[in-house]
Subunit: 424 residues, 4 copies
Amino acid sequence: MAATAAFPAGRRADRSEPSFPPPSIGARPIDRSAWIEAYRTVRAETERRAAPLSPEDQQIQSMEDASPTKWHRAHVTWFFEQFLLAEHLPGYAIHDQRLHYLFNSYYVAAGPRQPRTQRGLITRPTCAEVAAYRAHVDRAVEALIAEASEAALGRILPILEIGLFHEQQHQELLWTDILHAFAQNPLDPVYDAGWRMPAASNAKGTVTLQRGIAAVGYDGEGFSYDNESPRHDCLILPVRLDRALVRNRDWLAFMEDGGYARQDLWLSDGWYAAQAQGWEAPGYWRRQGEGGWHQSSLAGARPVDPDAPVTHISYYEADAYARWAGRVLPTEFEWEVAALNGDLPDAYGLVWQWTRSAYLAYPGYRPLPGALGEYNGKFMSNQFVLRGSSVATPDGHARPTYRNFFYPHQRWQFTGLRLAEPLS
Amino acid sequence: MAATAAFPAGRRADRSEPSFPPPSIGARPIDRSAWIEAYRTVRAETERRAAPLSPEDQQIQSMEDASPTKWHRAHVTWFFEQFLLAEHLPGYAIHDQRLHYLFNSYYVAAGPRQPRTQRGLITRPTCAEVAAYRAHVDRAVEALIAEASEAALGRILPILEIGLFHEQQHQELLWTDILHAFAQNPLDPVYDAGWRMPAASNAKGTVTLQRGIAAVGYDGEGFSYDNESPRHDCLILPVRLDRALVRNRDWLAFMEDGGYARQDLWLSDGWYAAQAQGWEAPGYWRRQGEGGWHQSSLAGARPVDPDAPVTHISYYEADAYARWAGRVLPTEFEWEVAALNGDLPDAYGLVWQWTRSAYLAYPGYRPLPGALGEYNGKFMSNQFVLRGSSVATPDGHARPTYRNFFYPHQRWQFTGLRLAEPLS
Amino acid sequence: MAATAAFPAGRRADRSEPSFPPPSIGARPIDRSAWIEAYRTVRAETERRAAPLSPEDQQIQSMEDASPTKWHRAHVTWFFEQFLLAEHLPGYAIHDQRLHYLFNSYYVAAGPRQPRTQRGLITRPTCAEVAAYRAHVDRAVEALIAEASEAALGRILPILEIGLFHEQQHQELLWTDILHAFAQNPLDPVYDAGWRMPAASNAKGTVTLQRGIAAVGYDGEGFSYDNESPRHDCLILPVRLDRALVRNRDWLAFMEDGGYARQDLWLSDGWYAAQAQGWEAPGYWRRQGEGGWHQSSLAGARPVDPDAPVTHISYYEADAYARWAGRVLPTEFEWEVAALNGDLPDAYGLVWQWTRSAYLAYPGYRPLPGALGEYNGKFMSNQFVLRGSSVATPDGHARPTYRNFFYPHQRWQFTGLRLAEPLS
Amino acid sequence: MAATAAFPAGRRADRSEPSFPPPSIGARPIDRSAWIEAYRTVRAETERRAAPLSPEDQQIQSMEDASPTKWHRAHVTWFFEQFLLAEHLPGYAIHDQRLHYLFNSYYVAAGPRQPRTQRGLITRPTCAEVAAYRAHVDRAVEALIAEASEAALGRILPILEIGLFHEQQHQELLWTDILHAFAQNPLDPVYDAGWRMPAASNAKGTVTLQRGIAAVGYDGEGFSYDNESPRHDCLILPVRLDRALVRNRDWLAFMEDGGYARQDLWLSDGWYAAQAQGWEAPGYWRRQGEGGWHQSSLAGARPVDPDAPVTHISYYEADAYARWAGRVLPTEFEWEVAALNGDLPDAYGLVWQWTRSAYLAYPGYRPLPGALGEYNGKFMSNQFVLRGSSVATPDGHARPTYRNFFYPHQRWQFTGLRLAEPLS
């Protein structure tokens, strides 16, 4: 089975000429205009997501795990300036060297940086100044793509490409972070009154995997992160995966059966997290008088839709739910193989799906050289893998081998689950 | 000696017709236009102080003790709406009831409120919406003053008056809070490039108090807080107070003599605070290469001026300095008597002066009735009294009996000291 | 009025020849045998208090504020070795130099020491080894007293004397610390089945102080701590003090009236402490089914006696109770003057009485020279003064000028209160 | 390959008739005396390990992860009383019902329990009383084994067996916990002056695993924990494992090369743990003047032996070391297969070996029914697997399928590592 067989295409079916992802970096001749278009597409999407937000909205960091909108806009720009322009555009004038301290995220090799927990303290540069920074870098990047020699482009495109995927990741975070910020406000701010979780399919039943050796991990020609490699064989044991995601109506049954009160259903660490945080429902759920549960969303607080996939749940909750249901979460490889087999509805575009796989290195894993080697590898402990993509994931970003990862207590992402059942 | 004898007047010498403080609330006939002018003066000063700040600047809360500029602007407005308009203006339409939760500070009797540490999370209402809130309340308050019956004004003016002094206190906090916020930013933002600490006098020598019974506390006709009453006698023992404030040059001598490293100079709690916070100089001081020390100020980081009074020091530091110098801090009553005697230079308008008096109730103290009773009384433990006023204190706010109070570890206010020496 | 007028004598009425306190250090000729007897008396009392405790009991530190019994026994011994023997007994052989690190409490000038919070981690030396340490030092101290020259004794006796009072303070702590430890054990261990809080007097009514200048602080010939000096004048304003202590029956009325639930009764810091600790009754009280409240005591958990003085309350609770009762706590000087006037029943031997005076230096206060200067002076912030003495205070330790001090949240001591009322 | 092929036998080679492990629980006829002997052997070993410890030593809990010796002795006894005697010995009289609260560890289904972090606060029962508790339970267990019907024994022996293995686990903890406690004491207590880490073999070179399907997990007739099941197939990819453990001399080279200072070598969570804890060497290492490094051991502080396997290292350190060496840790299945192949020197009896496998459920894993189901399953997040056994592991306890697990920051166990290298 080829890694590209079941590439998620549905989310862009309405577009005749997708500008993202860009061409393969190995394709010759190099289509400079396609790259410029891809760059513009991604950069414009960031601004489109930030547009409904006031300067006040863009300023705040509502918890350690989140970052200000303004910071996201500046950080992805710094990424291009630091790794692309400063190294590959001769004579490039750094926009403002002091911003490098402020907008480096965690690249130790790229120098000291503003403490992660204090990103919300930086009121200047203002949003307008960040916009100017973005424009400055945009002009330079586009000039670089247009004017670099073919030989130089061979070095430039891999960095440009990772920069674009990197910015897309921050587009997703921008949404989940502002949702968290708004959810702290008793006035229930609305980001987009028309926002809705897309409808889940009516998929029923299961997809069965037979015992067999399967190759997992990426080896196509498009982009992938280092943590998806090397492609390697693994042994799949017989298993059935649900075609449907777990929905809010299912979760309400779990809640009504005491799911949040029965310690026997929970991992020990999960139970303590649940008690410490006072969890009694998924993230952002609030009891709303007699009207039942509401959940904060990008459209403000709205009644919980029983048909929608459950979201904003931690790994601990997903695991407890599976135990309650007498099932398990799939492994990341079971998920990947099922997705490549082509019959895993709602794999993409709704909610990331927790797997029971810890986030670890593939056999023979090598991080990228230099500072970019810190991108993924140094996080390989204490986290779990999620697969698929969510409603917040930008077009062209998902693929079957994609490994998202979060700590098991985190739930501000659009996280959900599907169940599985071993057959042996 | 009368409580008004040495009323601090210098800071407004350049104004022919001061509009603040307003007339005595007992004065008849009631001068409505003077009250409206006082109201406008105070409200305008708040806006003047906020004006140089972007929406981003106004949004953040850089530590627990500080509040966002936007919050200050809204909170003082809520104070008038809650305590004045809602109770005394028949038919008044609350601007937005939801704001009462957000902008109540600590008045338990006035209902539940946004947790103090989470004021920075509220991005909406925006600054513009807060401006609209202020305008709505301003119109109503001015109409109330203009149109209320004389009898009603008798009840209204005491609340209006405390609301104005209350707003002035927040004007001072607005400055100290934004200074703290800016000091966290490595880009060293400037609030007002022309800002300077006023020059201290060249006062030398001491003022001596003889043993005697002195009346302390307020009993004049103007405004005072409940914690300045009742006026009562106390016994002053012979003491000398320095006429000069301690200056940066003095403090540098203390530092060079190991002041921050000699545990024997420090209170036990002070030493632990100093270690935990890594103090080795006053607040906002940073070593600037060979150029010596700089201190963040409202004009950005500037070289430490050896002639300026030391500021941004905690009680613990003031106490350690005094011990190092073989002296003590004055008591609050020694300070008050010396100030009333009329020969205490730099008592006002530069830095608040730590005293060695714990902040406690005067004999027979009664808090105001109702929610306003929480204004001062419930903080009477673990804090020390400061006397005088600072460069950030608005015109007309200071008086000899005024009791400011902060925890001994706090140093983001414009706090300084003068020394004293018992003579017995 | 003389500082010795109302010296508390009741607690030792049953003893014909008290051996403590020792003779005045100025008395000549020096009565060596009286000093030796005083030394033996104090040392024996420590062992008497430790005797019912197993090695396991003596090992633990049940909270930061407490210390292990074994540590108390060793620390008071170190005090004599460090300050007396090492400096004044030529040729004295230190028992084990390594113990100085372990058993120095907080004397910075005496060298580094085991962190206070980790005293419970030291299992060796064992209790038996600490007993040997005590015996070694006892032999040397007694020899020193017996054999030193008169001139040397002039230097020795002041240190010996403070060492004895110091050990008595630890005798009180030994009891309060083991009570805290036992109260953590659901098996409710009993220290002494026959232990009882002595009965309070049937005192009723009030004692009135007239306005006047009073001298406060110690100036007699016996022992006093540096913080009781210098004796100085203060102005007493008219006030009435209750002759009776507040009793458990009074406290139950406060509880039944919602005392622990009415935030308006509490200092702000007190309210947060009460919420954080879940206070709903005095320390060690537990609801015992239908049988009402029990309180852990040195005799184990016993029904709360409505006639007994309330104890194990914090300053915050005492202050809230006084506010509820429409009264205040006395100042430490009001208490002292009333006690010296001779008509303050239950001043000693039951519970320490919180005053509303912050613990601060007297005018002209000078700490002792050298390391012993750290004894009292460095704690003069954030604490309140208690006066009198408690059931746990050893014979001969109390006096009218004695200033005990604790943080306002602490309640593991035998702390109680009496009320006062200003008359002006 | 059979799970019993390479059963670790070396550690008991000097004993002619091992009494542990006991017979297979399925063996018929049931050899009651062998079971009684096994029981006595295990129980005696606990007492043997506790014997050098004073009551003071046995009392303390030196950190959250550790427990007092006395608690271990009582807890394993409670385990037999709770799960064996109370359920299977008709008419059994509980020794003291109150002990069940004190000595339940984490079995929620078995009722409420003393908070884990407060085990050190329980001074009573004393050590002597715990000894009486042990004797009481021993008599009853032995009588039960001797007198139960064959049918009853069928139900009893599985519980007896897990109770014995359970007690052995606590024997290992007893040593590692007291080592931690002693290491906090600057007096460097000695548990056993003759204690030594056994000499490692002189093994060199590597053992190579070829690609293939291997069965892992337990399926023999002896005892195993639920987390070793079900036995299942996995795919082994070509890999080489070092025959030798990493030694102190290797680790010193890592340290000298800046291993603890180079953030690029570390997992992100690991780096923060290392900074927060101030790690600059393995656990219990201290610089000892010019004499180089010493390490606290059960024989007190001793010079680090360059030939001994490194121990008291966290997963984070093991991982950083492997990265520095250009290698990886083996997976738990690579380790198991290599051990079963029979050529993995020093697999047992020196140090547990960190693997790069997260501690997760095997496919189809089912915990034991009832309270014992909490034994292993609820810890399956955030931990890593260690394989082998250590110098502290009791005889008869280790096997190739055994899965030990700890959090990646923990290092008070006898933890070490061996390296591996993927070959594909």
